[in-house]
């Protein structure tokens, strides 16, 4: 079967691209391994809510019209939202069709799937940034008595054995899991490396309001000093909750979570941690201070100080005088290890030489280093918001423009 464009993945990013291609009357098909919004259905823990408020759920031709613009959507609500969007735009989707390979072909690409093969001149990779949980190499040394799991498999604390839990990583996933697992009565040790502290609300407004209004989320990939670094920054330490709670390291420490440095080894029946926790926290506190300074300057420049609460600063992260350098593993303490150490895309089916030596796809703002190939939904792909639902619209417009001129060229 031949088609001008194939979009791989029917999540919000793939659907946004489909909508933009339809607007340009570009003949295309969206291939989806499962159902629409598959990752949201099958790879998320039960309590997860979006980290962005409802008003920020914007896709091409669609804005939030519900009665809770400041709330945070649960996973069933996100799935319903993406399904509703699919009904609105009626994309040409082939569901339950898994792509097994994408190869160069005479005039474009050959896309093999479990339900037939396709030829296309252009292909859009919209399979997401979080297909595989990154597990550090030292996981090989975990003793057999310890259960390990990734956030892709974790659903709720009740499925964990009683006893100590080591959560490795303190980005959004790690702090959320640390919080709910510790509250379930399983004492948590949180291994903290580089992390980005962020309050849920500042001066009476949600952090995402500040990031959006002050233009931080619109910052382009070609405007930052070191885009490679910007793309690898961990996610903000945020949770979406009805209480608009902030769960930074101080909040976790207050409920009794034991903070430790980065996990650096497993040997002699112990987990070992780096002695760098104090500096990791100092770096993060200073970074937060600079962000809030920038917000305050922006608010003053815009004459918004009168309608916002007064500026203030958050207490520095409290670090124990002697953070633990090790923790006993089972049977004495830790029985479960959760790898909240980041995610990466699964591009194992991509047989086009576009990966760098670290396995990352080479691209310039989503225009992949292979003619007619595009990428969507990655951190800071074209803008700081590229990996958010709200980032898909602008990226899909830009990249569908490029794709259309490539087809015309």
């Amino acid at each position: 079967m031949k088609v001008a464009a194939i979009v791989i993945g029917a999540g919000h990013a793939g659907l946004a691209m489909s909508r933009c291609l339809s607007e340009r009357s570009i003949d295309h098909v969206v291939i989806e391994r499962g159902e629409i919004a598959n990752s949201w259905r099958t790879e998320r823990w039960n309590s997860l809510r979006l980290l962005t408020p409802n008003w920020q759920r914007r896709l091409p031709g669609c804005t939030y019209e519900g009665d809770d613009p400041h709330g945070f959507a649960t996973m069933p609500e996100v799935i319903a939202f993406v399904e509703r969007y699919a009904r609105l735009i009626a994309p040409p989707v082939e569901t339950h069709t898994r792509v097994t390979s994408v190869r160069r072909a005479e005039a474009g690409y050959f896309v093999a799937t479990t339900r037939g093969d396709w030829q296309c001149r252009t292909v859009v990779l919209a399979t997401g940034a979080c297909n595989i949980a990154c597990v550090p190499r030292l996981a090989e040394a975990v003793p057999a008595a310890i259960r390990t799991l990734t956030p892709m498999r974790y659903r709720h604390p009740g499925e964990l054995e009683h006893g100590g839990v080591l959560v490795v990583g303190a980005a959004a996933t790690g702090i959320q899991l640390a919080s709910e697992i510790h509250r379930s009565g399983r004492p948590v040790t949180l291994a903290v490396g580089e992390h980005i502290r962020a309050p849920r609300t500042y001066r009476g407004r949600d952090i995402q309001w500040w990031m959006d209004a002050a233009g931080v989320l619109d910052q382009r990939y070609d405007e930052v000093d070191d885009i490679g670094r910007a793309r690898r920054v961990p996610s903000l330490q945020l949770v979406g909750s009805p209480e608009h709670a902030t769960i930074d390291l101080n909040a976790l420490r207050e409920i009794g979570v034991q903070l430790a440095g980065r996990l650096v080894g497993l040997s002699g029946g112990k987990a070992w941690f780096s002695g760098s926790l104090r500096n990791q926290c100092a770096l993060s506190d200073l970074k937060l201070g600079r962000l809030l300074d920038a917000f305050d300057r922006w608010a003053t420049d815009r004459g918004l100080d009168a309608e916002l609460a007064a500026p203030h600063r958050f207490a520095p992260t409290v670090v124990d005088e002697k953070p633990p350098l090790s923790r006993d593993l089972a049977p004495r303490n830790i029985r479960t290890i959760i790898w909240a150490s980041g995610y990466r895309p699964d591009l194992s089916w991509l047989e086009v030489p576009v990966l760098d030596r670290k396995g990352r796809i080479r691209h310039d703002g989503g225009i992949v280093d292979a003619p007619g190939m595009y990428l969507m939904g990655m951190p800071f792909l074209r803008r700081r918001k590229s990996a958010l639902i709200d980032g898909a619209a602008a990226d899909a417009r830009d990249l569908s423009d490029h794709l259309a001129s490539y087809l015309a060229g």
Binding site: G261, V264, G265, W272, S274, G275, S276, L286, R357
Partner: protein
């Protein structure tokens, strides 16, 4: 882009060369494989003399402008002759020097003029460990504390950020905070 400054910041660090090296080594990671070397000869008692004269890097052996010598010994309270700093003090020297060099480089990159930087580095140790009195006490430091006094054209937070970034990129900070496999053999 930052606006050009009227007086050029000069901490004596060639940042352009460092940025150039970073770019070059990104493209040629094999040239980034370095091996640092020292030799150490026993003199007498606890006194030894170490030398540093070359290393391997950028694909070949590199020679230093001169041979650097370091005498190490134990102090008189250990019934030694005190002919040099103790080995653990060399670790403190290495940490202080590494963080200080990092501060200068980061300050140059961030366009911050330094006027003075001084550090005191203190390692706490219970010597019951090395004396074999108590098997539960480790041999090495149980904590290291570094205290910087910095005079620079920058705010207090900017100075704190220099010190934090210097730790983040420091080799010796990494060596003392994280484990390393060590092989010692007799040839």
């Amino acid at each position: 882009m930052t606006a050009p400054t009227t007086t050029a910041v000069n901490n004596g660090v060639n940042v352009e060369a460092l940025i150039g090296a970073r770019e070059a080594l990104t493209k040629a990671p094999e040239a980034a494989q370095f091996r640092w070397r020292a030799t150490c000869d026993w003199m007498n008692g606890t006194h030894s003399r170490a030398t540093v004269s070359g290393f391997f890097g950028l694909g070949q052996d590199q020679k230093r402008k001169s041979e650097f010598r370091f005498d190490a010994d134990h102090p008189e309270v250990f019934a030694s002759e005190d002919l040099g700093a103790t080995p653990v003090e060399y670790v403190l020297v290495g940490l202080g020097a590494c963080l200080t060099a990092g501060i200068a480089a980061v300050a140059q990159y961030r366009n911050i003029q330094l006027r003075s930087v001084s550090a005191t580095i203190e390692g706490a140790m219970d010597i019951q460990g090395i004396l074999g009195i108590d098997g539960d006490v480790r041999n090495g430091f149980d904590a290291i504390r570094v205290s910087f006094k910095i005079d620079a054209d920058a705010t207090a937070d900017e100075i704190k950020a220099l010190v934090a970034q210097s730790q983040k990129r420091s080799a010796v900070f990494d060596i003392v905070t994280n484990p390393t496999n060590v092989t010692v053999e007799v040839v």
